[in-house]
Symmetry: C2
Subunit: 227 residues, 2 copies
């Protein structure tokens, strides 16, 4: 069930499908505004003006502003989230699946520069229903994916046993933080912006650190039995 | 230079020292309010009422609300931040120093449940000067500590070479995330709160994953040269 479907389920007063040009226009405008302003604090009036769509139609299509922001999150994260089951089913080693997953998360965050703040904003807003929707769409499926992939790796002898909830916290926290504090670090600590090159380096770094710590000694040194 | 000193430097209009009972009362009230409400969104009026101190004195002691919140962050993080140089100077292995550091960060976050959100709030607020103060007090010294400890570990043959900025991002992101998303995870994914026991487990987990990935093969298997 997609998050938009969830939303329809929980907000019975709004239109059934977001898949039409007016709704799409509103999402495009919201995403562009967030990039232009480097902030997720945008108003319905701004979205309406930029999209050329009457603000009243936001209510019709998305229920309210949170509904629009949830739909935007779903649109942007859909690629990575719907990919999880597919990835698990591939005839690849657990290590390769984990590497592809790490690269996928970093890519999604990088492609939509506001994605990380949007998730924070929706999770920590005053509306508990909104936060619950984000958890159901984002946290739950990711955690479930980690649980299954970790079990697969332990069974194959590639991964050491770790607590999936703690592993989720470590991996998602590490990925998220590249995009969270970077702007502040840039100003005060003389560190550059998150470029394509930084993303590639960080994917390699997380593989080295997180996968390095996760792998069994056997999986870590496949060709060297003695030191 | 402490952050309060920084603050005095950059906000010349306020009183020179926060070390007096009125200022302390305001900080205690602010911290207690954040715990009671499980939010860092508290007003000066609320702080004044709870502390029994006239709201005008906030301006006298801290310049403004951001100044008060920065002083609260300094008070709560001071233990861990002032400890960094001391820790580096100890006759301990780089691995032991890193373990103590990880435990120290988790302990500070756990002891002051609002600390993590307070840092996010101040870093992402509209006031750039405030964000810069947080970076100078928090991000800069931590990054410098990581830089020096990582170099020490590489020199001793215990750590693999890693980029300090990327390592900082991984470690602080992983620690921070335990406290960031937990409440939402609790509700929607059936996961319990961050107890003392969870903190201990997470410290052990981060040691296993992050240190596991950081250590050289030699340091990882000190007693087993083969296999």
């Amino acid at each position: 069930m997609t998050m938009a479907a969830h939303l329809n389920h929980s907000m019975a007063t709004k239109a059934p499908a977001a898949k039409n040009s007016t709704a799409e226009k509103l999402l495009v405008a919201a995403g562009e505004l967030m990039i232009e302003r480097n902030s997720v604090e945008i108003s319905l009036a701004d979205i309406a003006q930029k999209s050329g769509v009457n603000a009243a139609l936001v209510k019709y299509h998305f229920g309210n502003k949170d509904g629009l922001l949830l739909a935007l999150l779903e649109r942007d994260a859909a690629n990575e989230m719907t990919h999880l089951d597919f990835l698990l089913a591939q005839p690849l080693s657990p290590t390769t699946k984990m590497k592809l997953h790490i690269a996928g998360i970093i890519k999604a965050y990088h492609q939509f520069p506001y994605l990380n703040r949007l998730i924070h904003y929706l999770l920590h807003g005053l509306n508990r229903d909104t936060a619950d929707e984000v958890t159901k769409f984002f946290v739950g499926p990711l955690l479930d994916f980690h649980r299954r992939l970790l079990a697969e790796g332990v069974a194959s002898g590639d991964f050491r046993e770790v607590d999936p909830v703690l592993f989720y916290t470590t991996l998602i926290g590490a990925c998220d933080h590249l995009f969270f504090g970077r702007q502040t670090m840039m100003r005060a600590a003389g560190i550059g912006p998150v470029t394509d090159e930084v993303c590639r380096s960080y994917v390699a770094h997380i593989e080295k650190i997180v996968l390095g710590g996760l792998l069994t000694n056997r999986a870590r040194q496949p060709s060297a039995a003695g030191s």
